[in-house]
Amino acid sequence: MKKMTTAFTAGVLALAPLAVLAQDSSDPIVIPIHNWSSQIVMSNVVGQILESAGNNVEYVTTDSQAVYESVRVGDVTMELEVWEGAFGASFRAALEKGGIIDVGDHNAVTREDWWYPMWTKDACPGLPDWEALNACAAVFATPETGGKGRYLDGPVDWLKHGQERVAALDMDFVVINAGSAAALWAEIGAAEADKKPVVVFNWTPNFAEAVWPGEFVEFPPHEEGCDTDPSVGVNPDALYDCGNPATGYLKKAAWDGMEAKWPAAYATLEAISFTNPQIAEMAKLVDIDEMEPEEAAEAWLEANPDVWGAWVN
């Protein structure tokens, strides 16, 4: 075993002149992969950037909420997409416990909420107001939901609290959780042919806005404490009686031991900042062009050398 390590170290040292980041540990940097495309591609992009700089990178598929616990204990090294609306709470909880650090924001501004493609407005003209949506709930009914409307929420592990919001605002909707992000696109795609009205969970930046023009449903605006204090928001007795933040952050997070172990990689991570169009583009490569994630990452890196070149130096 010792021999192997020595041989391995020797190998790494031999490569040292090629690598700018020679002082980084040769242990693999573990990047988590979740269940939506932009995150997967971004993780592969960053992974390939780090690899080209000589780091050892490994990917692990994890739950997008549980990942903060894994980052905290160092099982996972970083998280590239911390969406305020979806993961703000888990991230804050992990920050309080310690072990994870905030590595700054991406340039991107995010919003996640109930969303509909434009043709839905023909069947329910009062949109985007949420009360108007509720009034035409029957338009969204399917055999499974009875007379109530069907709202396709994100996968359960995103903990979107759609169910709680429907209850808090007393809406005539049944919340169905999609199996994956791709199921959401399948739903919109299937509805497109005969312009069937649908309302699904969606977010920006995303490729979907370019393919299917649409709008977010306007819920009672987000207020601080709406998810922790029942008295905040329109329903004095319930949590989640407001929309998600309309201008949320997109952060990067890392294990607090990363800087000491992989200083150069950490510096790169600090510099990384993606914009809304870049993130939408990355999602599109997989969701529309049907590339495999690592292929998509290669394609993106090839097309944008000036963007990521700046982060490495």
């Binding site: 075993m1 192997m4 693999p28 992969i33 269940n35 050892n56 692990v60 598929t61 994890t62 739950d63 997008s64 909420q65 549980a66 990942v67 616990e69 894994s70 099982d75 996972v76 399917t142 055999p143 499974e144 009875g146 996968p155 359960v156 592990d157 995103w158 903990l159 169905i176 959780n177 999609a178 199996g179 994956s180 992000a181 791709a182 199921a183 696109w185 399948a186 739903e187 299937a190 042919a193 049907e290 495999e292 292929e295």
Partner: protein, 655 residues
């Protein structure tokens, strides 16, 4: 002679108790509908529900942090990770020690041919080789090997632990006594309940997956080992003792070889369960076939799901047939003086093939790995084909019609009705069922078990779970029993259908989601559909077996009495086949409880969904409470039905 009156009398009082219970339940429900039932009798008030999840969390946290269990398991994790890294390197070229892999696909396929030929002749050789060649050519080699690399660690682990515990349980009565109830709970506990503790204690990724898989596969190994050892005949034991064997020698050279068949059947079950579970660990981020299948099904890419499904099924069938052939194959004995090479022909040949193909892959890279774009996958084309088929107006109106009919007329009303029944009434209905079929003891157990479910605070979701199970199993019976009856009419068809059922039972449960999603999309109907297909297999199988094992004297007597075919079936064959069919019914219910939880990923509103949600956090207590709810409901059915089948068999004088 004395037993007969008691057999005939007990059902009378039993029936009366059952009718009483049912009567009270009906009265309570009517009161609920007329709106006079106080709310606390409809559902247990929240304030009265003990916060079991919080207590459990306190307990788990104590064990985890204060007693240092986490430190201990993390220590084990490090060891397991090294093993998995090594097998990962060998199978799919993970960049870890010993940095040798990945093994060329041609070498693995070649070895599979040799092993297949050794175990079962040309047919198995073709099956083994064909499976791996298909996997490589379709472009799924890497993900298949990711799955295999965990399987080769988890299955032997489960085997060793199961064998040791089995021996201990056979040797010491107290071990047997403590282990038995734990095993029955473990076997009905939904798989999702294994996943969260695995992640918390054994780190996210392959280690957690391997641990959850191993633990799930241990129980059948224990049971088969004990069974085999108990069956060893006293003569053999005598012979061993007379030759002066020590205790260990007795075990090693007398007991285990005599119990070889049962132990190998256990091995077969371990392998099959491991494969089924390894695929499911995709839910906690295990890479491999399961993860890809999950992603493809979730995005409705059915062609590609189908291709992965074929790979998984082929792997399952190959592993199953090979391990079964190993059970049947008797150890070879050679004459004294046979050379080592002659005694180990297969081994030598396998090594030669392995080295040959490995060398070939250096010259011809395509024999080593098939790269991106070099495969023959037609997934994207199949996707469009299936999508096109489903978009045809007639197909669409048929599937929509079925969905509409099932949901609006049957499923939703049934669910709403079950939800409207007051909690105590529901418990009484279940108790009545248990008393009627099983007896007083079963009735008491049913009350306790369902009472615990009511106290868990997850009553509504438990009832929705139960509703899906009952609805799907009922429909499965309507379809499966006639198929079984028809098939049992001729030898040829019985054999064919039994073979199909046998094969279908080796499929990992995940596979059953594919056809359901293909027809009904990502809807509640697909959930019922997948449970239905899964549960139908044991129903058909045991119906055929039950009817085929009806003693010929009985059917002949019926023929002589001039019974028509229908009369013979209804009055003679079915009553005699009923105990066996009940076993099938029981299995169908157990399968349904298993499937309904997995189907959470299509989108259910039941315990499964809550369980899946716990995977996103660290709520061990809640996770455990939910799992136990499923387990308690499944166990109630299991106890009652098995008791009934055993009683009935005894009464009918069947073996």
């Amino acid at each position: 002679m004395v037993a007969i009156p008691s057999v005939t009398r007990t059902p009378m009082t039993r029936n009366r108790t059952a009718i009483w219970l049912l009567g009270i339940a009906i009265v309570l429900t009517i009161l609920q509908y007329s709106g006079v039932l106080p709310a606390w009798l409809h559902r247990i008030p929240d304030a009265m529900i003990p916060p079991a999840a919080i207590w459990l969390d306190v307990f788990f946290n104590f064990v985890k942090d204060d007693l240092g269990l986490l430190k201990f398991t993390r220590f084990l994790t490090a060891g397991l990770e090294n093993v998995l890294d090594t097998s990962g390197n060998i199978f799919y070229g993970k960049r870890r020690w010993p940095n040798l892999g990945p093994i060329p696909w041609t070498a693995i396929a070649g070895v599979a041919v040799v092993v297949g030929y050794y175990l079962g002749g040309w047919r198995l050789a073709v099956l083994g080789g064909g499976t791996f060649i298909w996997t490589a050519l379709i472009g799924q080699w890497k993900i298949a090997m990711e799955t295999m690399s965990v399987l080769v660690v988890a299955a032997p682990l489960a085997f060793v632990i199961g064998l040791s515990l089995g021996i201990a349980a056979w040797k010491y009565a107290w071990v047997d006594k403590t282990i038995k109830p734990v095993l029955s709970v473990l076997q009905t506990l939904p798989f999702f309940t294994y996943l969260l503790p695995a992640v918390i204690f054994f780190k996210v990724g392959p280690t957690a997956g391997a641990v959850a898989t191993t633990i799930y596969a241990i129980p059948p190994m224990i049971l088969m080992t004990t069974l085999g050892l108990q069956k060893v005949s006293p003569e053999v034991v005598e012979a061993g003792k007379m030759s002066g064997c020590s205790k260990f020698q007795m075990l090693r050279h007398v007991y285990i070889p005599s119990a070889r068949t049962e132990i190998l059947v256990g091995v077969n079950q371990v392998i099959m369960l491991c494969l089924a579970m390894v695929v499911l660990t995709a839910f906690i981020g295990m890479p491999g076939l399961g993860a890809k299948l999950l992603a493809m099904m979730g995005s409705f890419k059915l062609g590609r799901s189908f291709e992965i499904g074929v790979t998984i099924v082929l792997l399952a069938v190959t592993l199953d047939r090979m391990s079964k052939a190993w059970v049947v194959k008797q150890p070879e004995h050679f004459e004294k003086g046979t050379s080592w090479v002659n005694r180990h022909k297969t081994l030598v040949l396998a090594i030669a093939v392995f080295i040959g193909f490995t060398l070939l892959s250096f010259v011809l890279p395509i024999a080593g790995t098939i790269g991106r774009g070099q495969d023959f996958s037609q997934g994207k084309e199949l996707d469009n084909l299936i999508k096109g088929f489903l978009a045809i107006d007639i197909v669409q109106s048929i599937t929509y019609g079925i969905r509409y009919f099932l949901n609006v007329w049957i499923l939703n009303p049934f669910r709403d009705f079950m939800l409207s029944i007051p909690t105590p009434a529901m418990i009484m209905v279940v108790a009545a069922f248990a008393v009627w079929l099983g007896g007083k003891r079963e009735g008491v157990i049913a009350v306790i078990f369902f009472g615990l479910v009511a106290l868990s605070g997850w009553w509504d979701r438990s009832i929705i779970t139960l509703y899906s199970v009952l609805a799907a199993v009922s429909i499965a019976m309507l379809l499966g029993i006639p198929i079984g009856v028809l098939a049992a009419r001729s030898d040829k068809w019985s054999q064919r259908v039994l073979l199909a059922c046998d094969t279908a039972q080796t499929f990992p449960s995940f596979i059953y989601l594919i056809p359901a999603i293909m027809l009904f999309g990502i809807t509640a109907t697909a959930v019922v559909g997948s449970i239905l297909i899964f549960a139908m297999v044991p129903l058909i199988r045991y119906t055929i077996e039950g009817l085929r094992t009806v003693p010929p004297e009985m059917t002949e007597a019926a023929d002589m009495a001039g019974a028509t075919r229908m009369q013979k079936l209804v009055n003679v064959q079915l009553p005699l086949a009923l105990p066996t069919m009940a076993v099938g019914f029981n299995q169908a219910i157990m399968f349904a409880f298993f499937m309904v939880i997995i189907a959470a990923f299509i989108g259910t509103q039941d315990l499964g969904q809550e369980l899946q949600r716990t995977l996103a956090g660290t709520d061990l207590g809640k996770n455990f409470v939910l799992g136990i709810c499923v387990s308690l409901m499944a166990l109630t059915f299991d106890l009652v039905i098995m008791k009934w089948a055993a009683d009935k068999k005894k009464a009918l004088g069947l073996p």
